[in-house]
Amino acid sequence: MGLEAKLQQDGFITTTIDSIIAWARKSSVWPMPMGISCCAIEMIAAADPKYDLARFGSEVMRFTPRQCDLMIVAGTVTYKMAQVVRRIYDQMPEPKWVIAMGACTSSGGMYRSYNVVQGIDQFLPVDVYTAGCPPRPENLINAVMTIQKKISKTRARDFQDIPMPKPETVNN
């Protein structure tokens, strides 16, 4: 029972702009694959035909942050890498979401050590945490679906206060 069934009856539907935009957004979540270590392998597996993340509209892994709205941080984030992760996150256009995939990203995991950030929520706003070391692809798909639920509840006015990024000026 999809959209087609409704259209066959009357040829039109009534809805609100908010919900149709939220529906479009949640059905085309483009992930930024921040694959830093072993979790990335499971993330790749989730995108492969066996698990097929494309069923949820997330098959286009974009390797440029400028075309993405979901960052999947998959792997151990060291203090040195944290600067890079944050910089890439800052380049993504609003609105954007973050999945902390796996134990390392969520809490430092087994690396209770001086060089690993004990949870990326120390510098990123995380929406969904995924358990596992590494999480199975189903678990990642579950996280993406949780993000979709979250997106479907958003309204246009939620994003009104987000300032437009100012273009960088070059002095020469």
Partner: protein, 163 residues
């Protein structure tokens, strides 16, 4: 003559008192030499026609925390001719933890010594480019020293601001 006896005999003949200790544990030969002779010993091991230890596989250090000579610097060198790995050690003081670099003899020692400097703060004099390898520039500590806490020193590594 067995290879191990040959190595020890040659070193003792050329360096005498500078060969401080020889141990043979589980078929691994370790030779402790004086710190000031380390470059000469390295050059000899590499260039002697019977030994030809041409490859430096590893340089690292041990922090003994409370020992009078706090650090031991360890070199693993390999001879293709004899198919043999030899361990050379030298003990150094804490203040200052300095010894000569062997990177002029084995080029591969360049990065190993940088790593040892990064992790233990051992200063290799005459090293061409003694910078940190792993930790960020500007980091003030040496993480593999025994007095460095496992979880690090709060605030010593910068994080981006929370949003």
């Amino acid at each position: 003559m067995e290879l191990k006896e040959l190595i020890v005999e040659k070193l003792k003949k050329n360096f005498g008192e500078s060969v401080e200790e020889v141990t043979d544990f589980r078929d691994d030969l370790s030779i402790t030499v004086s710190t000031n002779k380390i470059v000469d010993v390295a050059k000899f091991l590499k260039e002697d026609d019977d030994l030809l230890f041409v490859m430096c596989k590893d340089v690292t250090a041990i922090d003994w925390a409370k020992r009078k000579k706090r650090f031991t610097v360890v070199y693993h060198v390999y001879s293709f001719k004899n198919n043999y790995t030899l361990r050379i050690k030298t003990n150094i003081d804490e203040n200052p933890p300095k010894l000569d670099s062997v990177s002029s003899i084995w080029l591969s020692a360049n990065w190993y010594e940088r790593e040892t400097y990064d992790m233990y703060g051992i200063i290799f004099t005459n090293h061409p480019d003694l910078r940190r390898t792993y930790m960020p520039e500007g980091f003030q500590y040496h993480p593999l020293r025994k007095d460095f806490p496992v979880l690090g020193i709060p605030g010593s590594l910068p994080l981006p601001e929370k949003i």
